[in-house]
Point group: none
Chain length 96, copies 4
DNA sequence: CAAGAATTATGAACCC
DNA sequence: GGGTTCATAATTCTTG
């Protein structure tokens, strides 16, 4: 089930008789799900590591909020950064 | 407050400055930022891996939306249990 | 692109400029910002009113946490119904 | 129920006999809940209005992201704004 | 006042 | 590719 192709239309017994195709697909589905779950766990672990570093930074007296701003700026293309700053300036000036 | 201004009141290492921050603190800041960036890269790589698995699943004829639904349900179950327990706690305390 | 640079190619109104933006556009920008700020103030006031009610409830001997739980449950019911319907849709499409 | 005080310990019938205290409290609880729900509806309506203004702004060619930045800046004390900008500069310079 | 929970805002992914 | 929904990030509020 759950897939658009290769579904034999009948009961589970028939499936086994016709060569275990559905069973193979169930295995494959299970494999997919478990692999994704494994990777998501790793992702979660990394998120925890990052949090730890920010805690450390805070303990060392740094301003975490500013550090996050820095990280965001470094992720952007320099041209994008400048464009945004320019536009912000223009709007601010327009407002007086 | 430690990080809000240059602080060169102490040891010899803090004497060499780089534009408002002691050199050793600049090093530490750089270390923090680079470590976070490294971990975020790994996170991004994992996200890519997950996307690949979904692509593969789609190619194999599975319905990706449903697979995501299954993953969500498997994730939610413990959360649901916990929420139920929280609710029970609340009601018991309210009645106690 | 319209908003990215001053555009004084058109009508007479656009000739008076205020630092990079045509005056009429500056007016419109100001109007947008002030209207949003006004609405956000109202929102904030409502949040305060809600807080007051909870304070009153607490003073009257009610358990605020439980009241919030009740509110959440009353809010969730339609959402739950909708989610169920969505799930049903998904499965029906998968089997169709 | 649900409250910490004024609970008669016996059955509903007793409650009515002892002067309808529990019934009064149920009324009061209902009143609290309904008032909160009413205010939350208003809040939601305001959120919709704000969204509409942003849509209008976008249609008029403004950069909504920048407008949101402006709103955030205007909410902050000028001193806070400057402090943050200064600190950001310091950190950026420290990183080269 | 700091930690944690809850709400809100932003950014990414997906579908049309 | 534009709009919409969903996940993640940030801020706010509450509590110990």
């Amino acid at each position: 089930m759950l897939a658009h192709e290769e579904q034999d239309t009948a009961s589970a017994e028939t499936t086994v008789q016709t060569g275990g195709i559905a069973a193979d697909r169930a295995d494959r589905l299970r494999s997919i799900i478990e692999r994704v779950e494994r990777l998501e766990e790793e992702r979660k672990a990394l998120a925890g590591d990052i949090k730890d570093i920010f805690s450390e930074a805070k303990s060392a007296g740094f301003d975490v909020k500013i550090i996050k701003q820095i990280l965001k700026l470094r992720k952007m293309e320099p041209a994008q950064v400048e464009e945004q700053e320019t536009l912000l300036d223009i709007y601010r000036r327009a407002l007086g």
